[in-house]
Amino acid sequence: MDAIFLQILNGLDKGSAYALIALGLTLIFGTLGVVNFAHGALFMVGAFIAVTFSKVLEISKVTVDPDKVDFLGNPAKIKVPYVVDWFGSFGDWIIDYTIPISLLFAIPVMILIGVIMERGLIRHFYHRPHADQILVTFGLAIVMGELIKLWFGSESIPVHVPEAYKSALDIGVWFGFEPGSVIYPNWRLVYFFFSVIVLSGVFAFLRFTTFGMVVRAGMADRETVGLLGININKRFTIMFGIAAAVAGTAGVMYTGVNKPVFHMGMDFLVLSFVVVVVGGMGSLRGAVAAGFLLGILESFASMPLVKDAIAAIGLPSIDQIIIYLVAVVILLVRPRGLMGKAGVMED
């Protein structure tokens, strides 16, 4: 039981990333009718905002310590980050909380990037075929990934989580398991709750604000809303910014789960697309549900127990293809995904 509980936690955690990216993809698709293959890149850019911030904090005052030598035998340079030099222990605190503080920067920066992307590129593709949209955003994703690689290199870059969240929590005892049997990393729990908050926030925003109502109406019937004299385009631009911010902040928080690397956007993009398609193009709830569902299935498939069972009946291990396999089955059984609407994206 504890093993299954653990894998459900893992699944929810993986699902968080899928759901957050898929949500943005669906929002963009639903509002603007654009298939954005560069959305994974936005997630990656978010992660690198955290990297940049941590690098900025590391800018150091260099003093030479004559007693020590470096690897070439020259006098060693001692580096003290300026923030620590200036603010003392408060500086240490800032460095410790790099990731959460990066969020504050990431939100406006990502909205800006999103708006620039929409105004500068995406808007010119509203009336082009979906294939063109896929192709141009695919090109953009390559360019963004390569630019990040040019600047930051191809290796993963560690960004540390706050000291207080480094350890793992014996979460099992809350649910009546033996102490020590279900231990889960603190930061992954933070990440999960973060995603729940963001997801609820977006849903609440769409449901309870006038802005959200107009956007939802626009998703259902763009022309009619346009006829009502509402400047739907402006709202959709903002929507794109919000979707970018959701992906970006997800990326920032993800740096504490896995080390950011330039190709993480592409890694997530394909899976997120599968998630969106399984959920049903244009369905926000479908995207979120499919995200968590696939995350959990993926986790179960990687359990040694399951792997052994599959091997026992003579099949190859399926944990690496489970998501695709499920996607194929669901699409064949439910043509429009779990919650998709008819006629969307079928031309």
């Binding site: 599968v274 398609v277 690496q320 994206m345």
Partner: protein, 381 residues
């Protein structure tokens, strides 16, 4: 505008392809390996265009057929004979069957659902080939020839070096003529001409399909499937036929890759390779006859020549300038060449999609028209 008729087009195409070792010499691309890649990926792209260009169905999964074709050919080399004929036949058949299965399932959906399904199949094939199918594919290392392969038909002569692929004794890699013309060392080898002849044949087949009632139906699928169905045409078998034909072209290309270089890596099945052929077709001009081949040349040239321009070479270009100018220019240029070739490719691709939806062919046409117009102005017409 000058209108080429088909015979003339085919004739010019044939002439250019056969003379490629001479024509390409000044570009640095006239060595057998790259020229064969041009021809092979040309076949791949031309076939893919029959699906994507005509019906508009965007498949990200054709890498799987390329890979299957290669594996099939390799197994023929290992088990039967180093003669390329049985290998190529088997690779086309296997790829055809494989694409029939995947196409049958994927084509139950359309639009992006179709794209994602094909992508899913390609990724599954790649991942399986990389790991669990290792006995069949030799996984990470890739399938290669070995000294102890049975090779039922011609295994007897196996010595202590690996045999070469051949066409009834003509070795693919053999350079049969090596003249020096205009200071260039030209290499004519059998392998290229085998690929070239199959390329011309593929081009001819594609041309016939484009002009045929079948091709007309495929174009009709792209513009209005509803109308087509209400006109008494069942669109799915048509798209499936196009899918399988393009899959067979991919299988042929895969088989040829194995004849040129008897080794297959699982990466050949990755969806990014399938994405590459999409780039080729779009860059060249989707739905045009010659575009996909141009796109294939363009991308393979980038991958093999552009990627080798390292910083030393860049500095070599600007060496005549003063130091500061050299450094400045090199700093500007370097990120885009050599290891930055992906970046340049991505940018170019975006530019083409944004400004030249018809690809290079469209660009060429516009340029041509512009020149004609300028000409007319000059003579006051």
């Amino acid at each position: 505008m000058v209108r080429f008729n088909d015979k003339l087009t085919l004739l010019i195409f044939t002439a250019l392809v056969l003379a490629a070792p001479l024509i390409l010499a000044p570009t640095g691309a006239a060595y057998p390996d790259l020229m064969q890649r041009f021809a092979i990926y040309g076949i791949f792209a031309i076939g893919f265009n029959i699906l994507f260009g005509l019906t508009g169905y965007l498949s990200f999964g054709h890498a799987a057929f390329l890979g299957v074709g290669s594996y099939a050919a390799m197994w023929m080399f290992k088990l039967l004979s180093m003669n390329i004929i049985p290998a190529l036949i088997l690779s086309v058949i296997i790829a055809g069957l494989f694409s029939l299965v995947i196409g049958y399932i994927s084509l139950r959906r359309s639009g992006i659902y179709f794209s994602i399904l094909t992508l899913a199949f390609a990724e599954m094939s790649y991942k399986m080939a990389y790991s669990v199918l290792t006995p069949l594919t030799n996984g990470e290392t890739g399938l290669q020839l070995a000294l102890d392969d049975p090779r039922i038909l011609d295994g007897v002569q196996a010595q202590d070096s690996l045999p070469s692929t051949n066409l009834f004794g003509f070795e693919m890699k053999e350079v049969f003529w090596n003249p020096h013309i205009f200071g260039y060392d030209l290499q004519f080898n059998y392998g290229y001409y085998v690929c070239a002849i199959l390329l011309i044949l593929s081009f001819y087949i594609a041309m016939r399909i484009f002009r045929s009632p079948f091709g007309l139906m495929l174009r009709a699928v792209k513009t209005n499937q509803t109308r087509l169905n209400y006109t008494g045409i069942s669109s799915r078998p048509y798209t499936l036929a196009a899918f399988v034909i393009s899959g067979m072209f991919a299988g042929l290309a895969g088989g040829l890759l194995a004849t040129m270089d008897p080794s297959v890596g699982a990466e050949r099945m990755q969806w990014t390779v399938g994405g590459e052929v999409v780039l080729m077709v779009v860059l060249g001009g989707m739905g045009t006859l010659i575009g996909p081949f141009l796109g294939a040349i363009f991308i393979k040239y980038f991958e093999n020549i552009f990627s080798k321009i390292n910083e030393g070479v860049v500095h070599g270009w600007f060496a005549y300038l003063p130091d500061w100018a050299d450094n400045l220019l090199a700093a500007i240029v370097s990120p885009f060449v050599g290891k930055g070739w992906h970046l340049t490719l991505g940018l170019l691709f975006m530019i083409v999609v944004i400004f030249l939806p018809g690809g290079l062919v469209d660009g060429g046409r516009r340029l041509f028209r512009w020149v004609i117009r300028a000409d007319k102005k000059d003579i006051g017409v």
